[in-house]
Symmetry: C2
Subunit: 500 residues, 2 copies
């Protein structure tokens, strides 16, 4: 079984396969918690998840790993094995920076905070939330400090690094700094332009959840999701969970609305296809995991935004929508297209159009970075939130915590450092489509004929099957000829929203 | 946190709490495998479940446990703690009797055999089954020999002990020996009697699964199932899974039939209420687990048979059935009652009525005991099966392996020693109702008024909250004034099927 030439590497691969098996149970229990679990099951589930988190941490910080990684570095490894070892080393450095007690405290505090948040958000109970959140933030700061000490980065950077390896604040500041210069102006231009366009016809409900679900599943099939290796279920917060071998997407349905949930499903399907198409031959090893969360979001946004609002795709799903709910003027492709590209700044990130979306991210980045660096405290958040929402989007959120800083699950779950990935993902998605168009000038015509294969083939070849073989910068370079270049996102918005 | 007077006991309690948390993940992944998992997820799930099984075995056989149990025996423990220590010792003796390699071989062999069996059963492929089953049986015999060496019992007894601690063949032989004397005659009498009664009106389908599900959930609520701490889902083989804090029942629906699935749900609800009402203060410790599988089956059969075919209960659910599917003559309480108590010997155990059911168990007990003790080999099974089916139930099963020895999942899964629990459970259930009637002479009148609380109160007080505090014999004695007494089961059948 084990090649005698690489005994240390083979031992490490065995340990990571074991981590993969145990992580499978953790992933499924996490999905079940959101999709199935009845409320009284929460304490037992939280304890079980804390136990497995501690166990994974113990296996991942075993004292034998350090010497074994050092020994494996000297072994005659192939290129893929060497990339795998690089990823092992990264995980090991992160894991060994944190004591097990912190991992457990984090699991318990976030479970408590998130569970209470589910009621506090609808109740607009900011004070109640802060009472739990203080502990979550303290643990987040502690984690950030320990990771930063290890990585030599700033504390917030050390957290971003968990989701987007190598991402630095200088990059985010540069990218968001540029964005800030042109985005508010572009939003105003688009709003003026759309105000002069024909009125959008609103779809008339009700939209029965069973019909919505069937529609979502049809569209997922159109997008190539493999239902033999995954499912669609319902949860309060849509997400893509499970494991690459068994991908669990979730969505939510409301009787009076279907488009948000349909496009949310398209978004999660992008995540799902990435997971389902990760390379199988090294599955269970770190190199076979998705590259990063910005790259993950680039897949969901390639599906939801680049493809989802493409006239060719809209023409493809329009008849399915009419079949699901009966024909309506609102379901004409041109009208659907306008619905999907309507820009309307509002307080809620997940409801935001792709033009105003980055504003939501810039605001969160500024606030959570300051929280982690200790520059502000939770009680400073609402004023900062209200000011930035007004400045960037002209939206008044005063007193509306529920649609303000209480709206996201990220902070109760201590997922500090994740938010930038959404906007970087939107930028990468635009960059991928620009590269696709350069490589296949007939791309838009093909999509216009209802042929999505060129998109999937490009993503499969350049992103999905590459997994964590390269760093994010190398991956982008190999796929598109350049590292992250936000100009493609700007060009995309201008072409779609201000173009001919 | 830890009382200084009982350090060894406290350490043990901590280990068992950890086992409880890890077992939670195992239980949920097992439930999900049956209720949700898409087919391509199976390999990854099997690997994850094998990993957690090996891990639980490793934690449960840690070399520190033996000395710690010995030390705890000498500590000043309360009565509940002492009962907990007794249960810890029992689990430790069983776990340490088996090497991890056997546990792993067993998991792999049963997974292979069970997986092939799913196709072999419909194909009536006994020879193909035997090819895999030989290995499963060899491992079962090996396990039995190791456990028997440890416990000083016979090999088959050592396996029964896993499900019903302390159960000996002498008891089963005595009980089944008595049964054998009166059961075939009683079956004939009941058949003659029912032949003279008015014809039973068959319900007319279709019965839409959504309506069936809603009906099942209404009846579960009526039976006190707490949906805040559990769910009902669909799987090929109905079962009660999950954990006490979050009970996952499953059922299955067919368009042309509803009563089997409804009563199956009533059965699983009995298991579910036992789990949901185990004592909370010691949850996670062995003493807080259900006493045994015979006692567990006594709860499911108390619900399905004792209560489920009680005229008062039937009158209660008859209008719910009519509401679910529209009124029909078949849904008249008197007719439903006849449907639920119709005796019709047939080849399939899970379809059997409560009068002929024990015959199925006696036959399996005789065969699997002889298999484990090495007195017969798999090729001897069909002839023995056919002979006993004819002798006990007058049913011809020759050549019909599919509805004969291939019908149960127990043997492919190496669950030797479980079968007796079903019939002992039916006997205990009759014994509980006899005790209830002695304690509350108005019991039947109350049930007749639609008041099920006296039943639940008695079970909660005498069985559910007692968990594993006592041995099975002590539990039965405290609850009903005597250890297992099959006379109550005989009296129950005579009263219900041959009485006035």
């Amino acid at each position: 079984m084990s090649s005698t030439a690489t005994p240390a590497y083979d031992e490490l691969a065995g340990t990571h396969l074991r981590l993969h098996h145990l992580g499978h149970l953790q992933a499924m229990a996490g999905w079940d918690q959101a999709a199935n679990m009845p409320p009284k099951g929460n304490d037992a589930r939280a304890a079980a998840l804390a136990e497995i988190a501690a166990l994974l941490h113990r296996v991942g910080t075993d004292p034998s790993l350090g010497p074994r990684i050092a020994a494996a570095e000297a072994e005659p490894l192939g290129e893929l094995q060497r990339a795998n070892l690089r990823e092992m080393r990264r995980g090991w450095l992160q894991a060994t920076a944190l004591p097990e007690s912190l991992v457990q405290r984090r699991a318990l505090a976030t479970a408590r905070c998130e569970h209470a948040w589910r009621r506090q958000r609808p109740a607009n109970d900011w004070a109640g939330f802060v009472a739990n959140f203080r502990e979550v933030l303290a643990i987040g700061r502690e984690q950030a400090a320990l990771l930063a000490e290890r990585s030599g980065t700033s504390r917030y950077e050390a957290l971003m690094d968990l989701y987007e390896p190598g991402l630095r604040c200088a990059t985010v500041d540069r990218v968001f700094g540029e964005l800030r210069q042109w985005l508010p102006g572009r939003i105003r231009q688009v709003l003026q332009r759309q105000a002069q366009q024909p009125l959008v016809v609103a779809p008339q409900g009700p939209f029965p959840p069973a019909a919505q679900r069937a529609l979502c599943e049809r569209v997922m099939r159109l997008l190539g999701f493999d239902f033999e290796a995954g499912r669609l279920d319902v949860s309060t917060h849509p997400f893509c969970g499970g494991v690459p071998e068994d991908v669990r997407l979730t969505t939510r349905f409301q009787d009076d609305e279907f488009l948000v949930s349909l496009m949310g499903t398209v978004h999660e399907t992008g995540h799902g296809r990435y997971e389902q198409n990760l390379p199988r031959e090294l599955l269970g090893q770190p190199v076979a995991l998705a590259r990063s969360m910005a790259i993950h979001e680039s897949q969901s946004l390639a599906f939801e935004m680049q493809l989802g609002a493409h006239p060719g795709f809209v023409a493809l799903i329009a008849p399915l929508i009419a079949e699901a709910f009966g024909a309506q003027p609102a379901f004409e492709p041109a009208n659907l297209q306008r619905l999907l590209t309507r820009v309307k700044p509002g307080p809620i990130r997940v409801d935001a159009d792709e033009v105003s979306y980055p504003a939501h991210i810039m605001l969160r980045y500024e606030i959570e970075r300051a929280l982690i660096e200790g520059e502000i405290e939770p009680e400073d958040v609402p004023a900062l939130w209200d000011a930035r929402m007004m400045e960037l989007l002209g939206v008044d959120t005063r007193g509306n915590f529920r649609d303000g800083p209480l709206q996201d699950v990220h902070w109760p779950e201590a997922l500090f450092g994740y938010f930038p990935c959404y906007s970087l993902g939107a930028m990468y998605a635009a960059q991928w489509f620009a590269a696709m168009r350069r490589a296949q000038p007939e791309l838009d015509a093909r999509i216009g004929q209802g042929d999505l294969a060129p998109v999937f083939d490009w993503l499969r070849r350049n992103i999905w099957t590459q997994a964590s073989r390269w760093t994010t910068d190398e991956l982008a370079l190999r796929a598109s000829g350049e590292a992250l270049n936000p100009a493609h996102f700007k060009a995309h918005l201008e072409a779609r929203y201000l173009g001919g």
